[in-house]
């Protein structure tokens, strides 16, 4: 196991050992459950097709996944700086990209575990309604891609500072801006509207996953966004490693 794997194990263990990981998981699962009850099991259930219920579930789950990703990522580096443990990593023969990747993968694994814990809700729709299993798989892949992208933004933000609140604010501003690009693209004319729509994290690129449609361009977008912010986080780490 390389340095990435060693850091992954430590960071994943930190989520499991700390109350913060459980609090994030509990809040996400509770809100997912409440929204699912309101949309799928509530009084207006009969007016919606089961496919529409599933799409609405993924729509709200995507917002909660993004919030959870910010909450999980902000501690990753800022906490180390505040506690002084960053010195152990900085004075060890570990490359910055290995640190960033190990931390990113640990957060993604924990976020994925939370996301998978919501699987019983779409499965209830599958059992009681008429939806394709593939729709569920594609929807969860979309949540994973979206979660990875927001985690990378959070990792970039936490690399900038030793204060978790500052990291949370920075990550929220970047993520919020990328979310707002979609409604903004509806308000402005071309060519700006096309640029905004192409860059929006939640809109054109998310809609396909929500509907159970698999578009290569959406995958490329999320992978590129994730890579960009992980690269930026690595560069920040490199710049700050010798400070």
């Amino acid at each position: 196991m390389g340095a990435t794997g060693i850091i992954f194990r430590r960071e994943f263990g930190a989520y499991v050992r700390s109350p913060m990981g459980y609090i994030v998981a509990a809040v996400v699962l509770l809100l997912d459950g409440i929204l699912f009850y309101a949309l799928a099991l509530g009084p207006r259930t009969g007016e919606l097709l089961s496919g529409e219920v599933l799409m609405r579930f993924f729509y709200y789950a995507s917002g909660l996944t993004a919030i959870a990703a910010v909450a999980l990522s902000i501690r990753l580096i800022a906490e180390e700086r505040a506690a002084g443990t960053q010195l152990l990593l900085n004075t060890s023969p570990v490359r910055d990209w290995e640190i960033v990747l190990g931390k990113f993968l640990s957060a993604l694994a924990f976020l994925s575990a939370i996301t998978v814990a919501t699987l019983y809700m779409p499965l209830m729709i599958l059992v009681n309604g008429k939806i394709a299993f593939g729709h569920i798989v594609v929807g969860y892949l979309g949540l994973t891609f979206l979660g990875a992208a927001v985690l990378s933004i959070g990792l970039f933000a936490t690399a900038l500072t030793r204060h978790q609140l500052v990291a949370a604010a920075s990550a929220s501003v970047i993520t919020g801006t990328l979310f707002l690009l979609w409604p903004l693209s509806q308000m402005v004319g071309p060519p700006l509207s096309r640029v905004f729509a192409a860059l929006a994290i939640h809109g054109r690129h998310w809609a396909g996953f929500q509907q159970g449609l698999f578009h290569l361009r959406d995958i490329v977008y999320y992978v590129a966004l994730t890579y960009f912010f992980l690269y930026a986080a690595t560069k920040v780490m490199e710049a700050k490693r010798w400070e």
């Binding site: 960053q86 060890s92 010798w242």
Partner: protein, 342 residues
Amino acid sequence: MVHLSDVTKYYGKKRALGPVSFEIERGDTVGFLGLNGVGKTTLLKILACGLRPSSGTVTIDGLDILDEPHEVRKRVGYLPELPPVYGDMTVGDYLNFAGRIRGLTPEAVARRIPEVEEYARIAEVHDMPARNLSQGYRQRVGVAQAIIHDPDLLILDEPTHDLDPVQIMEMRGMIRALKDSHTILISSHILPEISQTCDRLLILNDGEVVASGTEAELGDTLLRSRGMVVTVRPVGTAGADGSVGGDADAGGAGDAAAQATIEALERVIQSVPGVTGVRLPDRPARAIASAGALAIRVDGEADVRAPVCRALVEAGHDVIGLTRAERELERVFVELVGGAEA
């Protein structure tokens, strides 16, 4: 082993260190001594590849820290002033992580953990979360992580920081035991810690090395004053059961005789060329009455041991003891960094 050439560190326009140049041989134990804020931690962080110098070159084991940082890091163990311990991990898991992150194989780290735990005497807290450790244990765990990969160079920044006297003694014992197998650099502003564990001292002031050498060399060459304590049995004093002019507490003629003897002793010593100061103990008359002798602190511009002894003997007194004055290092330190009167 360690070579620094014209190394400086600036934070903006403020100079935190340098220029400093020195070499440290393999196997040396070197203490960096200085007041808080003079650049000790900056210097050690540069040596641990945790801080980039603004200028100059640093090589460790022949490797430039900027050109081959990872190779250098494999050879260095570093204990910062605040031990970098993850509170959520048990001590055993933490040492496993520290060993693996420094390149040890799972087998090697499993073999090494019991060794360093025994060495640092932390085996009993192996399964305890680090957040529950006392400061003393945290510091020892910090040392254990620094030596887990058996580095050639061990850097300890204020290793006795926040420890109680018993823990300080234990830490000194650990450092002494490490001297045989490592080159060690220690920083501290606590003088006994440095003098009791290091072979050589580098004294820093305002970011620069203002003196280096052994404790004796610093005392001899820099202070230009050799303090000593000469123990004298004044003329007419037989021993512990005797007295000079009777019991000093008896008052009257006894007191006057004792006082006259003491003043005579002072005059004899002060008459020696080169003597700059004579300090008597508190209640000298009582000391003579009880011990039959007087321990007098004598300072001089040069080595005045022989002339002082000769003068005392010629005056009829017995010299029954002669030692270097204690706290010599403190005098050097204050002289160099504070400019205060020693």
